[in-house]
């Protein structure tokens, strides 16, 4: 083989691998990414039941109900609406009424959501960023300044 042929083979092979990778990425982008929504988004966008999504908002005060064997339901709310979340499992350490939460799972109906994972924050100064942004957008952001010690 000449140097030129060799180079063409290499480019052809590399192009093939890259094309496969690109195909995989595009396919996976369609299928596996999950959108973040607040309860109000779900109503506004008319999200269909059966859709997999991340639901974020505040845990409504007094809405937590515990059933047998770690069956838990609670309501996630934002300024405009709320959705009941069903979850079976251990809640994160910093899961609290009135605080931010992100649940990932499947929308069952316009008012009910089945979560397979529930995330709260990593430390007491921190609100999930998506939730904080949504609340800011809706004008209901009170800030964490009162809860968190000033750092600067």
């Amino acid at each position: 083989m000449t140097r030129k042929q060799r180079r063409l083979t290499l480019i052809g092979f590399a192009g093939g691998v890259l094309a496969i990778a690109l195909g995989l990425v595009l396919y996976a982008m369609n299928d596996t990414i999950v959108f973040f929504n607040s309860p109000a988004d779900i109503q506004a966008k008319n999200v269909q039941p059966g859709t997999r999504l991340r639901l974020g908002g505040l845990v409504k005060e007094g809405s937590i109900q515990r059933g047998d064997d770690q069956q838990i339901t609670f309501e996630v709310m934002d300024a405009q609406s709320e959705i009941r979340v069903h979850y079976k499992g251990l809640l994160p350490d910093l899961f609290r009424e009135g605080q931010g939460v992100v649940a990932e799972g499947v929308l069952e109906s316009a008012t009910s959501f089945r979560a397979d994972s529930v995330l709260a924050k990593h430390d007491e100064n921190y609100m999930p960023r998506e939730v904080a942004d949504t609340l800011k957008k809706q004008g209901h952001w009170q800030g964490e300044a009162d809860a968190a010690p000033k750092t600067q």
């Binding site: 995989l24 996976a28 596996t32 999950v34 973040f36 515990r66 251990l90 809640l91 350490d93």
Partner: protein, 660 residues
């Protein structure tokens, strides 16, 4: 007093690194050996200054000097000493200081290598190191000063984030940073070669140990981070495809590719341009990782205070270095001479394939990590790209690579024979196939992934050691002779074999997770919870007080098929200062597997939510990583790397070269 001195030392280091950047570079242009050797002295001095600054901050932490803002925010007088010390880098400012400390340490080591590196190359390399040091020292001094005082000084600190109060903090960040920052040396060497417009096998031989060392540390750092997340977060997972994890995986993938292409360059003088590009990309990905983690664009336990000014500053550094180096590459790379030829079927080609797959896999991880950020900036839409995406894109690219690995390792240099090579591996194919079938038959319709993955792992381990056997034993060789021959194979061969076998062990560990079982229940004292063959009985829940936290300790007895194995403790912990609860999982190691108990809330009536996992062979995931890093270490001790570089004879006393 010490604190101000530390601050001053940092400023001094900045001035010195300016000299380190300008003078040697100028010296190399003017061909003046005196100016060129200025780089050495400044390299050592910069390290001394930054080490002093680091020590000053450490003293402030150890003595709980609450007149320093950084100490107030991240320490507490009742905190155990080890967390006072490791807490120095358990925050944004301190961790950046550790970053530049390691950067300066790398520079100092290059400066100390007086004889093994040609002066010109050394001068240019140290100048580039100086430039990186300038950028990050400016970043620290202008946006993230750890030495800021507070008046009046509070009586007590706010304590360290409880998730970080763990021995993992003492180990994981330094290892990871040595890996990240170690690649800066490969980068600096690559840029130096571009400036000079000259590159050869000697260059590859000088750079290879650096890449190898950085790679081994990065491997350890990632593995340690993974194990830490596994036991500390209480979710039982060891890898989440979290953007912060991806930020460390990307330089690892690129660095692995770099390691292999440097071998080709050293042995065959080929792939020069590609190797330079990889060295640039690897460190660029390290910088990108630093940006992602430190700027606050991602929220995780790693992102400390979010401050847009800092994010912008790191972004500017990122653009400057990546853009600048790629521009230099585009301008100078065509000057580099083409190297040796090789046939399409050869070890060189196999390593090209390795590089291609690793680089492509790295690119998919990059897309998956950056796409959500880009989409949010452009459309405002928030998405999450999680494990399904990465499993779907990353695995199809990595599995063919792993299948080809033993073949490539066995192929001859320059011109190989595919069929002949496959023949040399027939025993390996055979045994792996038998193992796979046997596991299939044994598990009676369990998950398909486990036997296939374990078969692949066994194939990798055997395929690696096949190299040793093939090179030391043939039919009729007495065992003693074969053993002697094997022991005398070059260390770099043993290193490669160990590293590849480590990959195999990790693959086995990952595949076996398919056999993991878990159970979830609300239990009271005396109740049992079951997961597969394993059961846990809650014996009692007792409170326990420690210096800065309070535990609710749940004691469990573990049974396998009704037989008692022992007991373990799982805890709900409350850190008093921050009022923050954490979960401390209870873990019992059974063989290479683990029984893992995570606690939920302890209710008022004494019932506890419990999740019990059994994870067979899970330890292999991390043992495999340790073996990989060990392989890197063994390869570093190769004779060729220790004494192979050209040395001026008069400077080496005869005794310095041991007869081997």
């Amino acid at each position: 007093m010490f604190v101000e001195a530390g601050h001053f030392a940092l400023a001094l280091a900045l001035g010195l690194s300016l000299i380190q950047f300008v003078v040697p570079l100028w010296g190399a242009r003017a061909n003046d050996p005196v100016l060129m050797s200025v780089g050495r002295a400044t390299g050592l001095a910069v390290f001394a200054c930054i080490a002093f600054a680091f020590m000053a901050l450490t003293i402030a932490y150890v003595t709980s000097d609450f007149s320093v803002v950084n100490v107030v925010e991240n320490s507490h007088s009742a905190k155990p000493l080890i967390y006072k010390i490791s807490g120095v880098w358990g925050n944004h400012e301190g961790s950046m200081l550790l970053w530049v400390l390691i950067l300066a340490l790398c520079g100092a080591v290059v400066a100390l290598a007086r004889n093994s590196i040609p002066l010109r190359l050394q001068a240019n390399t140290l100048a580039i190191q100086g430039a990186i040091t300038i950028a990050f020292l400016l970043f620290i001094l202008l946006t993230s000063n750890p030495f800021t005082r507070i008046v009046p000084a509070p009586a007590e600190g706010q304590d360290l984030n409880p998730l970080l109060q763990d021995p993992g903090l003492a180990i994981h960040p330094p290892l990871l940073y040595i890996g990240y920052v170690g690649f800066s040396i490969s980068f600096a060497f690559a840029i130096a070669a571009l400036i000079d417009g000259r590159i050869d096998a000697v260059w590859a031989r000088i750079v290879r140990p650096w890449t190898l060392g950085a790679w081994a540390f990065l491997t350890l750092g990632i593995a340690m981070g993974s194990y830490w997340a596994y036991y500390e977060l209480g979710w039982g997972g060891w890898w989440f495809w979290d953007p912060v994890e991806n930020a460390s995986l990307m330089p690892w993938l690129a660095g692995t590719a770099l390691l292999h292409s440097t071998v080709v360059m050293e042995k065959r003088d080929a792939l020069k341009v590609w190797t330079i590009l990889l060295a640039i990309l690897t460190f660029s990905l390290s910088l990108l990782g630093t940006f992602l983690v430190r700027s606050g664009v991602l929220t995780s336990v790693h992102s400390f205070a979010v401050d847009p000014e800092r994010g912008t500053f790191i972004l500017v550094i990122l653009i400057l270095f990546i853009g600048g180096s790629l521009a230099l590459f585009a301008w100078r790379a065509p000057l580099l001479k083409q190297g040796g030829l090789f046939a399409p079927v050869s070890r060189e080609s196999a390593l090209v394939v390795n590089n291609l797959f690793l680089a492509t896999a790295c690119a998919t991880v990059l897309i998956g990590t950056l796409y959500p950020l880009a989409l949010e900036v452009v459309t405002g839409e928030k998405i999450s790209v999680g494990p399904p995406f990465f499993n779907f894109t990353f695995l199809p690219l990595i599995i063919p690579l792993l299948l080809l690995l033993p073949l490539g390792q066995t192929l001859a240099w320059k011109r190989g024979n595919f069929l002949g090579t496959a023949q040399r591996l027939y025993m390996v194919f055979g045994i792996s196939l038998v193992v796979t079938m046997a596991i299939f038959a044994f598990e009676h319709g369990g998950p398909v992934a486990a036997p296939l993955g374990i078969g692949l792992g066994v194939y990798l381990v055997l395929g690696s050691f096949n190299e040793i056997v093939a090179r030391s034993w043939s039919r009729g060789t007495p065992l003693a002779v074969a053993w002697h021959k094997a022991a005398n194979l070059p260390r770099s061969t043993w290193g490669a074999v160990l590293a590849h076998a480590g990959v195999g062990l990790t693959v086995i560990g990952i595949a076996a997770t398919a056999w993991g079982v878990e159970g979830l229940a609300t239990v009271r004292v005396g109740d049992r919870i079951k997961a597969g063959d394993y059961e846990a009985r809650l014996e009692r829940v007792v409170p326990r007080m420690e210096a800065n936290y309070r535990d609710d300790v749940a004691v469990f007895t573990i049974f396998r098929q009704g037989r008692e194995l022992g007991s373990l403790e799982s805890m709900k912990r409350l850190y008093v200062t921050r009022g923050m609860p954490t979960t401390e999982a209870g873990i019992m190691t059974v063989g290479l597997g683990q029984v893992y108990v995570s606690l939920g809330e302890v209710a008022a009536d004494g019932s506890v939510g419990v999740r019990l996992y059994h994870k067979p062979l899970v330890l292999l995931i991390w043992i495999g990583s340790l073996v990989m890093a060990l392989g890197g270490g063994v390869s570093l001790m190769d004779r060729r790397l220790r004494i192979g570089a050209p040395v001026r004879a008069k400077m080496v006393p005869a005794a310095a070269v041991p007869a081997e």
